[in-house]
Amino acid sequence: MSKRLRHLLGIAVADDVLHIAEVRAEGAKVVRQSTLSLAAELSLDKPELLGKALAEHLKAQRYTAREVAFGLSARWLFARHRTVPAAAEESARVGMLRLAIERDHAGGMPLVFDYLALPAANGSATADVLLLATRQDVLAKLNQVAAIARLKPVAVTSAALAIGAAVKPADVPLLMLHDGNVELATRRSGRTASLTRLASGTVRLDDPAGGATLLGAVTRSLAGAGEAVNGTPHGLVVVPTSETDPAATARCSAALGDRFTVTVQPLTDPAVAVAEYVLHDSGDVVNLLQSRLRVQTRRKLPSAYRIGAIAGGVVLLLVLLVAGRAYQQSSRLQSLQERHATIAKDAATLREIKDKTTAAAPWMTKRPEHLQAMQALTQCFPVQGRIWVMNLRIDQDMTGSMKCRADGKETMLTCLRAMEKSPDLTNVQMRDFNEADRAAGVVGFEIVFKYAPKAGRAG
């Protein structure tokens, strides 16, 4: 069991009854126990109905444990005896058993196996193993019952194995009586070595004549399991697991007493035995839910813990990345500020000087802009005709006005067009025009302009 349980519900599934017990792990204290008789319509073949009935029963009896271990009677189990090399390691033993199962059961009904290793005899090169199996659909039905009853199944095992582990002496065969059903288990050092269901049709405890039949069945089963019955009296423990008729128990003991030394155990609740068997798991509990023989496949979905760990790792990585970047940027900013601080004073002084130098530059330039403007203007005067400047004004922003006279309109227009086409003059506009000397054809005019030499043309 990977998780340590504090409370466990044990449910022993018999033919017509469910034995239920809630056991506290600490001190193995039985908190509650009860039985749920299965009416005719209730059986494991109808898991929905059984699940609902179980849920109602658990609620009515105020069971609180949610984890459940099912103990199956021999009716739903197959038990086989196998021999493996005693020196084989656990993994090798599992591999051999898997191969044996595959060979023996290939093509058969789908079964789920687990095994119980038996102690090897001193000096023996082989060791015995009890293979236990149940049908997959039985497990599915148990899971369905548990889900409907809001229980979490943690183990599915054999009720007989659980009882066998609890009853002393540990090497004597057990005969478990439950109403009309009888199960026989041989044991070695408290471990069940074989499990046989003595068919209820042939062994009738309520029939006075059934004693002889029982004796024969027990003797054959023990012989089949390798237990020598002839000769010295053989011990046998009779365990009533339900309110078996005391007379039937007595008849059974009497019938077997000729050949066996019979010890009758007090009434044993198989549900309690199952719960205690699973709670005291020492690593070798037969659990068909978590079979050691199942081929381990990767889970399709990681567990919640794994998802949490991955998410935590991703978050941690992101936090580290963000923190790293923040530290890097902070360091860079600090470095820049420190480097700037070392030269800031010098830089401020130099900037002040540079700003003053820039501001003083217009007074220090040697470029004869006004003369260049005058040259640009005179280049616009026509070759043909006469034109002379009466007044020329140029301001600091190189805008200006030119008052001229010309010997005719054509000369004036030629000058105007030339100024408009000049690459160095912009905003050329005629402001004033008059006929200064009509008789001589002399005209006066004023043109405004802005001298804006193209880059590279100015001196």
């Binding site: 900013l333 820049l336 010098d346 830089a347 003053k356 003083a360 400047v389 020329l392």
Partner: protein, 185 residues
Amino acid sequence: MSKRERILAIIIGGLVALFLLDMFLVQPTRAYFDDVSTRIERADEQLTAAQLLVDNRALIAERWDAYEKAGVGDSESALRIKVQQGLTTAARQTRFNLATLNSGRTSPGESFNEVQFIASGNGSIAAVVNFLTQVHSSEFPLRIESLEITSRSEKDDNLTLRLTLSTINDRPTGDTSAGRAGGTR
């Protein structure tokens, strides 16, 4: 809770968690990084500009020294005398008849005191051009604010020139005597 309700609850819970994560973690973190990036950019620009100035220290100092020697570093009175003497000399050398040279108002600028002069005179076209050339190439700080040339007649080679000039000095005097006039010739 049914499976469907559980899925809906998980989706809604996830969306609310994402919203809260964005509001309280992602956006503040982005704002922080944006702010730091802006500060780094600004600090980098400041450092580059400062480093450029320091690297060009010699050039800047050399240029400013030249300006100071030219007269920017002179006192206002010394500069007035320098300009007046310079213009008078230029007029004499170019045969330009400098009739008046008035020292005009002093106005405090952002970096310098600006002193204005108004010069007028007459001469031939060649004299005017040469005089202007001398003005432009003067060694002391001088700028033509406005220029006006007037011709009396077409045939007469006698132009009248009126110049508004200005000079600057780097000696704040605290004296903003606007309109103070000095006179000369």
